[in-house]
Each structure stands twice: as C-alpha cells, then as structure tokens.
Amino acid sequence: MSTASLGSRDAKLPDELDLLIIGGGVMGLSIAYNLARNHPGALGRVAVVERSYLVSGASGRNGGGLRMQWGDAGNVALMRESIELCRHLAQELGINLWFRQGGYLFLARTESGERRLHRNVAVHEQVGVPTRLLAAREALELVPQLDVSEVRVAAYNPEDGVVFPWPFVWGYAARAIAHGVAIRTHTSVDALEPDADGGYRVTLSTGERLRAARVINATGAWSVGINRGLGIELPNHPHRHEILSSEPLKPFLDPLVVDLETGLYFSQSTRGEIVTGITLPDPPGLVASHEVELGSTLRFLSNVSRALIRVMPIARHLKPLRQWSGPYDISPDGDAMVGPSPDHPQLIQVCGFTGHGFMMAPAVGRMVARWLATGESHPMLERWDPCRFRDGRQLRREDMIIG
C-alpha cells in the first residue's frame, strides 16, 4: 500500500479542477468513487477536500442501518438498490464492511402506527420488496427477548440490514484514489467566488487558490455555512442526534428493531454491541442553530434506557459502553436536496438527507455520478431538486423518518 492511500493533508491538488467535491464523507466519496470507476475520463480532474479527517462527520457517527422499509415507493426502490449494491461492495472495495442482512422489525403499539405499517407493506408489495406484516407472537419468535404485550402489529423485511460505517468511507476513499481522484484532508474551503464563466474560484484554509468548473457541496450538516457564503438560502438545518453502543454480547439479535411510537431503534452489530438511539426532540424554547453542535447528555441516556427496557426488558441489566452524537442534516420535507443550486447551476447540492444519507449513499453515489457524467436524470433527482422550495412546488412528506 502506497503512502497516503486514504487521503492526507499533503495530497497534491491540481490548480484547475473539473469537479471539486467539498466533504470527505460517505456521500462525497461515493460520488468520487462511482465517477472514477464507472465513468473514467468523463470529468477530467476530480478532487475531494475534507476539513477534518475522513470519518469525522456524520458518516463516522451513524448507526449503520440500511432499510427498504420506507413509506414511499421511490425511497423503497432506492434503498433496494443501495442494499443490492452492498451485497457486492466489500469485494469491490476490498474491505470488510461487516454487512449483515438480519432484517428490520418495526413494532406498532398504537392504532395510527398499525395503519402506517399496513400502508407501507402495501407500497412495498407494489415495488416488489418482501416486507410482511407479523402478528405480535410472530415478532416474538424472531426476537424472543421482546415484550410484545403492547404490540398490535409488526412489519419485517428480512433483506434490510446493518453495516459498520467506518470501513465504507475508507473503502470508497482508497478506491477513488486508486482511480486517480485526489483526496485532501484537514483542509477547509474558506471561500468560493463565482467566476464569469460559471465556475468557481476556491480559496483553501492553506492559502491555496484553485479553480473548479463545478463544485459539489456534500458537507451534510455543515452545508448551510458554504451555501450562505454564496447567498444560497436552503431550508435545511443541523440537528444533534445522540446514539450509544453497549458492552458486547454474544450474537442473539438478528433484526434491527424499531419502536414506531418512540422512534427507538436498536440492533446488534457484528462486533456484538447493541447500537441504539431514539427520536429526541430539542428542548422547548431552544433556538434552532445553523451551527453543528455535538456532545452527549444524560437526558438521552435516560430516554433511550426507558424506551429500550419497555420493548426489551432484559436490557435493564445491560450497560452502555460509549455514547456519542452526530449531526443530522434536516430537510423540512424529509427529502434530500440533490442537484444544481438556485441561481448557481454549477454548484451541486448533495445534502439534506435527514439522518438517512449513509444508507442511501451507495445508490446516490452511482446515480449522481451517472448524472454528472452523462446528464442522465432519475425520478429521485427530480424530486430532490433543491429549487423546489423556492418554486413553491407541492411538497410531499416522508412518513418513515426514524431516529
């Protein structure tokens, strides 16, 4: 393995770039990898610039769940493609992704939750995804440790799964570099100035100045800062999401379990830990910030503990090992923002994934790379148009935002 095969602060950047990808997270790296591998030469010089190290943001902080169980056919099909890609990705990237298809088990404890699951399963059937409704006792057969006394119905798709997020990022980075992409870490983009020809003059924190014909903003929860510097107003904003992993246990839990009413999710990683988080609204009166905030709280620990014990009582004796947080990049309608920015056609947004970017990255990277290289669109790209908010188009609202 050659030096800096995973990107470094010393990686040389060309002065003139055809495409600058800002953000060395899973989204930016998946796009870089898919461009270099599937469309070699289509875009010329491509570089990724990351302000910190490669798994420093949300890509290194998420729970690693991948599910087809969405409320909308477009998302279901997209995630079926992402999971299908994951089946072969470890071989393709030459790295162990700890991919395990144990399924996702959604539990509904209320009538409205029950209706949601019935509706979802009908959508999944249309798309051709093998989700099925389970009675409480069938859910108990899958996970005997559950307390299903309150469960009205469950939904289970055996092909959903979990991964260990970190190796994805390293795998994409290593293969992108092997295909000629430059990856510079520990360097931030200090200024982007539009050029007369539609491209951008770029000033880096090192003092270097580059030119880029096209720029991708793949900085997730940090994207607001870059956009505002150019006068681009998009309605996404950062949200701190907490998560924890427990002491490792012998494998006993196949599916990732979601309690629909609390937004609790928990799974067992291939390393044996229980990884769990919960929907935790911001404290009342908190002013929404456009700055990314991290940090861990006792409030999260107590809420997730209560919800976890209610669904799986034996967890009361288990101990969390480590807790941390990561930034969601929240979009008001739950749909991502991917494509040319309002009034900035050469600045491509790939953000607003609302806590689900990691699972979508394999499919999105392929789709965006194809669009960049060939102009081929996709129904999801039309839906994800960042201009939809300005144009006041009818917005849909995804029902299955979990966590």
């Binding site: 995973l6 107590s302 209560r306």
Partner: protein, 119 residues
Amino acid sequence: MSERTFVCRCEDVTVSELEHAFAAGLTTIEEVKRYTGFGTGPCQGKECMAALARELVRRGLATPAALRPFTARPPAEPVSFGALAAAPDPYVDPLPSRLHADPLGDADPLADAQEPPST
C-alpha cells in the same frame, strides 16, 4: 513486538493492523482509531492509547507535542440501562421517574448501580 501482538485486546487490533494504518498515511490517534476500531471496547483506550502513541513517536510519525488523545466517550463508569432509566427528563418527563423506569414495579431501578463492577 511481533506483528501478531495485540495492541488493543478489547477489539483484537494487532500491530500488523497498525502497520496498515501507518502505511496508508494515517498518523493521528483519532484516524487510527477510526481505521482499526482500536480503543472502542470496554477499556475505552486506557490500555491501548499509550501503546499507539509510543509507536507513532518511535517511528517519527508524530511528535509528542502534536499528539492528541481521541475524544473520551461517556459514561465514565458503566451503569446499567435499568439505573439510567430512573433519571428524569426535565423537559418531557416531569412525573416521578420511578413510574416510568419501572412500569412493572418488580425491581428497584437503582439496584444495579450499587452492584460491584463486573469483571
């Protein structure tokens, strides 16, 4: 140390895996942690972090002054979910916490906290 020597016993990270990380150009403790998974097990880096720091310095990949430990993750002491469930949420959970922590009423939610540390 042989290449089979375990540097991180919790997560089974060997010297050989550190070699891979160094060869790939990763020379900060935080990056090596995220590449190998070292330091993320029950000891939380208490055993392995110094060993990695020494290796980075010995090989001239980092200076002692530039080395930074990875972020320490709470909780500092292992506490069971049962005990943690007893802590109230000041925003949404103004009721006495025991009612929520222990809906079945069959155990003291704080009992686990007084158990001796497991080994």
